[in-house]
């Protein structure tokens, strides 16, 4: 027990170091150039007079922090969903939640063009909730909603809502790339928008960490959990609410990024086991790390062009998804 506790701490420590290193690296490199020295001088002496320093502070920093926070949020949302629904394939993108949030964001951008970042985030929560209602309402059908049905319903809902968002974006000339709705984009993020979103992600992440012990109990099975005095309904509701906030806030900032919430918790399970008290912090940490690294790659692959970061994550995530489906463990209900 002790040794596994120690290895958990070690993994967290190493992960944090890697995250800090990749954050620093990501801020200090780019098309415009720059190096670590300039970054430190800018940060320590508040010397933003140099052009390079301003590029780092005003353009790269919000982008990198956005990747960090939304990466953690998507991963946590995936972990909570997998715990609450006993569905090893749960992911905000696959279940259509991202598409729902994106759809209402697109709609509100047309109907209420002067909406503040906070406003558009609240709208995104609504959209995420709408998608959940649609997916579960349709996935339930006559029989109980097994994972396969839910994923299929999620794919259908996502296709429908994404198409609507893309149609709205094209028809009304929203200044967003078509791939924003399916693959996300980290370019053009401002401090103002980032600061509006971070408290929500932080609060939801905190709640989901508090929830982790309950999720471990729930993982024993519904009957044992009820026998142990767990209020399953309450856990489900709180879990769902955190997922909506985590995914909605992230989508309002960077668009729909799928598969992150699927692969990171599974990766974390390999590292620290399936106890949610360890799984959740590890997932958050590695979700952030993965998205920051993907963003670095997305900027480098075809510099000076930006590759949509969600496409890179999906390219990593699809093999994992297929492997999980092929093994079929926990899916075939």
């Amino acid at each position: 027990m002790l040794s596994s506790a120690r290895s958990f701490v070690l993994i967290l420590l190493l992960g944090s170091l890697a995250l800090v290193a990749s954050l620093l690296f990501s801020v200090s490199v780019g098309i415009a150039g720059g190096d670590l020295q300039t970054l430190f001088r800018t940060l320590v002496y508040a010397d933003s007079s140099s052009d390079m320093g301003r590029v780092m502070l005003e353009m790269r920093m919000p982008r990198v922090l956005a990747a960090c926070f939304t990466g953690a949020a998507f991963a946590l949302a995936g972990a909570v969903m997998q715990g609450v629904t006993h569905n090893p394939l749960a992911d905000a993108g696959l279940l259509g939640i991202n598409a729902g949030a994106g759809f209402l964001i697109a709609l509100s951008a047309v109907l209420l063009p002067s909406l503040s970042p906070t406003g558009s985030m609240l709208v995104a929560f609504l959209g995420a909730a709408l998608a959940v209602v649609m997916v579960y309402g349709l996935g339930m059908g006559r029989r109980s909603a097994g994972p396969i049905r839910l994923i299929l319903a999620g794919a259908g809902v996502a296709a429908f809502l994404t198409a609507l968002s893309q149609g709205i974006a094209l028809g009304f000339g929203l200044a967003k790339d078509l791939s924003f709705w399916t693959a996300g984009s980290l370019s053009g993020i401002t401090w103002q928008h980032l600061i509006a979103v971070i408290p929500w992600i932080g609060a939801a992440a905190f709640v989901s960490l508090l929830l982790s012990e309950k999720l471990s109990v729930l993982a024993l099975g519904e009957e044992s959990a009820a026998g142990l005095g767990l209020n399953i309904r309450a856990v489900r509701l709180v879990g769902l609410a955190t997922v909506l906030v985590l995914a909605g806030a992230s989508v309002s900032l960077v668009g729909g990024i799928s598969f992150l919430g699927l692969i990171v918790p599974h990766m974390a399970r390999l590292l620290v086991g399936s106890d949610y008290r360890r799984l959740m912090p590890t997932s958050a940490l590695f979700g952030a790390l993965l998205l920051v690294l993907s963003d670095i790659a997305a900027r480098m692959i075809h510099a000076p062009f930006d590759t949509p970061v969600g496409a890179l994550v999906a390219a990593l995530g699809v093999p994992v998804f297929l492997a999980l489906t092929y093994r079929g463990k926990g899916i075939d209900r």
């Binding site: 809902v157 930006d306 590759t307 699809v318 489906t325």
Partner: protein, 331 residues
């Protein structure tokens, strides 16, 4: 018997509706063309009064939409029977994405081939689509049996993967090509010239009869493997042939249109409502329904927000994804 006559009569509504849709589509567009000019242009295409917009832009596009709708619907109808899966569709199963990816590889790796010989493009698309289909059949086999649910999940995964790879490759290109790929993913009638029409007609003329002549085999396949075996169908072999042709059909359509999903799902289901389940009537009805749906969607997409065009794939998804969810709920 009476019912069958009714169905046969209902069938003839489809070509009439398609003709009406073509007539409307010719009149819809950015530049308004008087009806008299349309007639003179169509009757005397070489004449001095012929409208260039109509003959060089609008007409090939209308024909392409009709042809793609036909091919994708036929492919979907066949796939639904062959895989015994009412939710099968070349888009959902990732065949379109695989084909699109192969076309993209073709365009970047052999830039010399595609300029004057468009004819190779569908061949590459077929290779991509077939690779996906073969993979899915292996993937969905559990204890020697095909599991439709796993096949759909695998298709969703494959489709997401190839779309991601397409986007990653596309950012390498200059911005205009990137927009092209983003629009391909959303499903846009890509080419709009007579050349594409010729290529697509060529492949459709080869592939369509192969499926239409096997209508009775498709009926038997629906009875299940054991029953059709007993009735003398070489199940495995027929199934492979039909699958091959269905994939080739979808791939050749996708190589000129964009990745249009759901049409292969919805058209056969609508057609089933009209003419029943027997493939001798169902296949032609699906073909006509697919053509009608895609043409209407394309026309709507280019006329609602003039001068902006909404890719037809987006319009089709908005119209048909709810149907997918409805079918899912019923099953």
């Amino acid at each position: 018997m009476r019912r069958r006559n009714q169905q046969r009569r209902a069938f003839w509504l489809l070509p009439v509706a398609l003709a009406a849709a073509v007539a409307v589509a010719i009149n819809c567009g950015y530049s308004q063309i008087p009806f008299a000019d349309i007639l003179t242009s169509l009757l005397r295409p070489g004449g001095p009064d012929a409208s260039v917009v109509l003959l060089q832009i609008r007409l090939p596009r209308i024909i392409l939409a009709v042809l793609c709708g036909m091919g994708l619907a036929l492919s979907g109808c066949t796939l639904q029977a062959v895989t015994e899966n009412p939710l099968a569709d070349p888009g959902i199963l990732g065949i379109n994405a695989g084909a699109g990816f192969a076309v993209m590889v073709f365009l970047t790796a052999f830039p010399a081939l595609h300029i004057d010989t468009m004819i190779y493009q569908p061949l590459f698309a077929m290779v991509g689509g077939l690779a996906v289909a073969v993979f899915l059949f292996r993937f969905a086999k559990r204890k020697g049996k095909m599991r439709p649910g796993y096949m759909l999940l695998g298709g969703i995964g494959v489709s997401a993967g190839f779309s991601a790879l397409l986007l990653i490759m596309a950012t390498d290109m200059e911005n205009s090509s990137y927009q092209l790929v983003a629009r391909w993913l959303a499903g846009n009638i890509w080419g709009s010239g007579w050349q594409q029409v010729e290529v697509l007609v060529f492949y459709l003329l080869i592939l369509t009869p192969l499926i239409l002549s096997r209508a009775s085999v498709l009926d038997l396949l629906l009875l299940g493997e054991d029953a059709s075996c007993a009735l003398g169908v070489r199940v495995q072999r027929e199934r492979k042939t039909l699958l091959l042709v269905a994939v080739a059909l979808a791939a050749s359509c996708v190589s000129v249109s964009g990745g249009i999903g759901f049409i292969g799902l919805v058209a056969p289901h609508v057609a089933r409502r009209i003419v029943g389940v027997r493939h001798r009537l169902l296949l032609p009805a699906s073909v006509l329904t697919g053509a009608l749906l895609l043409l209407v969607a394309d026309t709507a997409g280019r006329s609602f927000f003039q001068p902006i065009e909404i890719p037809v794939g987006i319009v089709i998804s908005i119209l048909s994804a709810p149907w997918f969810l409805y079918l899912l709920r019923k099953i």
